[in-house]
């Protein structure tokens, strides 16, 4: 077992009722790297991502087998505190989804539900999180305005600031740029490269160029199977599996 594996999937299978959405997936993800999951729609990449913060638990009829280890510990072991786990593993969703609250209340949401409410405690974290998401300069004068008035890419970076405020060490991103235009996408991608210095990032993307641009490791999934995973440059230039080759060259679906 390599030492720097932050995340390790061991024979992970997941069932929605009788449907097997993940089939004995094995994969490791390294600390402070960006791991991209690619594959056609419905291949299970979002499902795999969501096993990490146990968001699949919310769906009725989900059953999971195998081990999902974060820092060596199985996060599905009985007695795991899911709320603590989710604070450690933040998530950015497909569409920017700020609450209909002010910028300030959005960023401090995770702190408030954790019981941290005094302004003196919240304020430094607020600024630090917004700075880390490259949003401070744009919003510092409008912290009390509705987050819904921000342009979409700022909303998405606000969502990133919101999760940074609870101090995670892993960030999951589920097609974070699919609602953004190319320029906004570029900004978010640059931000991801910056965040990588401190955080372990796992991103699901439909955009293969995006995976190629920003990720260190890429995994290609098809119908619930992890077909192939490895260093991004190697996977894109010299895929080992015929099916990966077909997908990358556009011969699949």
């Amino acid at each position: 077992m390599s030492l720097d594996a932050k995340i390790r999937f061991e024979l992970v299978s997941l069932f929605y009722g009788a449907f097997e959405a993940l089939k004995q997936v094995n994969m490791t993800m390294a600390e402070r790297q960006i791991t991209a999951l690619i594959g056609p729609s419905g291949c299970g990449k979002s499902t795999l991502l969501r096993t990490l913060n146990r968001m699949n638990d919310l769906i009725p009829g989900v059953r999971i087998t195998g081990l999902v280890r974060v820092d060596g510990r199985n996060i599905y072991a009985p007695g795991t505190d899911v709320t603590t786990l989710r604070k450690r593993i933040g998530m950015v969703f497909q569409r920017p989804n700020p609450f209909p609250l002010s910028v300030r209340d959005n960023v401090s949401f995770g702190l408030r539900v954790a019981g941290l409410t005094s302004r003196a405690d919240v304020e430094p974290i607020l600024e630090r999180s917004l700075r880390a998401a490259w949003l401070w300069d744009q919003v510092k004068d409008r912290l009390d305005q509705s987050a819904l008035d921000l342009p979409l890419d700022q909303q998405q970076r606000l969502c990133i600031a919101r999760l940074l405020a609870v101090e995670p060490d892993i960030i999951l991103m589920d097609e974070p740029c699919s609602a953004l235009d190319p320029i906004a996408t570029g900004k978010v991608e640059d931000l991801m490269l910056e965040l990588k210095k401190q955080y372990t990032i796992v991103i699901v993307t439909h955009n293969m160029q995006q995976a190629a641009r920003i990720s260190d490791v890429t995994g290609y999934m098809l119908l619930g199977d992890m077909i192939e995973s490895g260093a991004t440059a190697a996977l894109f230039t010299n895929p080992q599996d015929r099916r990966t080759q077909d997908y990358l060259s556009g011969r699949y679906g």
Binding site: T83, R95, F109, G110, V113, R162
Partner: protein, 279 residues
């Protein structure tokens, strides 16, 4: 074969729909103008704030004003926590299944029962079996049961209208289900919940049958929840039914209409302010 060109069907449709709307508005306007026209001249400070004399033939309506304020307040104090709690449980804590369907069917049935039945139940259970007698408490509890289904259903709808993505984000930030309900779901469902509460208040204020059976119709100021009260609706009913004083009956009706108007305007104003601040 089409007798009418699309242009003409369109015109006729607009005409019919417009006429329907106009008819509704006219009927409503007629009722309000009719009552106000007959009642407004009776209203004065002394009419509002003095005690009635000679069974309401003379004097004011102050005790009924107090009764109309207290009875719905008591009903809401009971029905809102119960109703909102039930709705939260049904939507956030259980999965759709046989049990939720049965509960929902039950509340729908309850909503359709005529108010006199609630009055009868309140009379038998609160007034007689629990020996409360005709009083504010018995009336308030009866009205609470009566408006409970409305509050449950409107709250449920309001909660369902809160986007699932809000809950998802909240969970992903490490919020528990309870924290999500309190900090995300309920604040965003508030306008809908308030609408339900308003409907409930309206039903309480307008109710006569269930109130006479349970809160009685004593024409004096209550000193505790165990005293009988008379609401404006009941007062109006008795004045008109027993031919005590048509003038004071219309005066009471006018006050009733104006207070409901005031209630609605204030609520919407407050809601706009509140939502304006939030979003």
């Amino acid at each position: 074969m089409n007798l009418l060109s699309p242009k003409w069907t369109q015109r006729i449709a607009i005409g019919v729909l417009g006429a329907a709307t106009l008819a509704t508005l006219l009927v409503l306007l007629f009722i309000i103008v009719f009552v106000l026209e007959k009642g407004l001249r009776t209203i004065s400070w002394s009419f509002l704030f003095t005690n009635p004399q000679d069974m309401g033939r003379a004097g004011g309506i102050f005790p009924t004003l107090v009764g109309t304020l207290l009875l719905p307040l008591l009903a809401l104090a009971v029905a809102v926590p119960l109703g909102v709690g039930t709705a939260v449980y049904l939507t956030e804590y259980t999965r759709e299944g046989r049990l939720t369907r049965i509960i929902r069917f039950g509340t729908d049935c309850l909503a359709g029962i005529p108010s006199i039945i609630f009055g009868l139940f309140g009379f038998i259970f609160f007034v007689t079996i629990l020996k409360m007698g005709w009083c504010l408490l018995a009336g308030g509890l009866t009205l609470a049961i009566m408006i409970l289904p409305t509050i449950i259903r409107t709250t449920e709808e309001a909660i369902r209208a809160v986007p699932y993505s809000y809950r998802e984000v909240s969970f992903s930030l490490g919020a528990t289900r309870w924290a999500t309900v309190v900090k995300v779901v309920l604040p965003n469902a508030l306008p809908g919940i308030v609408t339900g509460v308003m409907l409930g208040i309206g039903r309480c204020i307008g109710e006569t049958a269930a109130v006479i059976f349970t809160a009685g119709s004593a024409l004096r100021l209550p000193h505790s929840v165990f005293d009988s009260v008379r609401t404006m609706s009941v007062h109006f009913y008795i004045l008109a039914r027993e031919g005590v004083s048509a003038e004071n009956a219309y005066g009471t009706a006018a006050v009733l209409i104006l207070s409901i108007l005031l209630l609605n305007v204030t609520t919407y104003w407050l809601m706009h302010r509140f939502i304006g601040r939030r979003a």
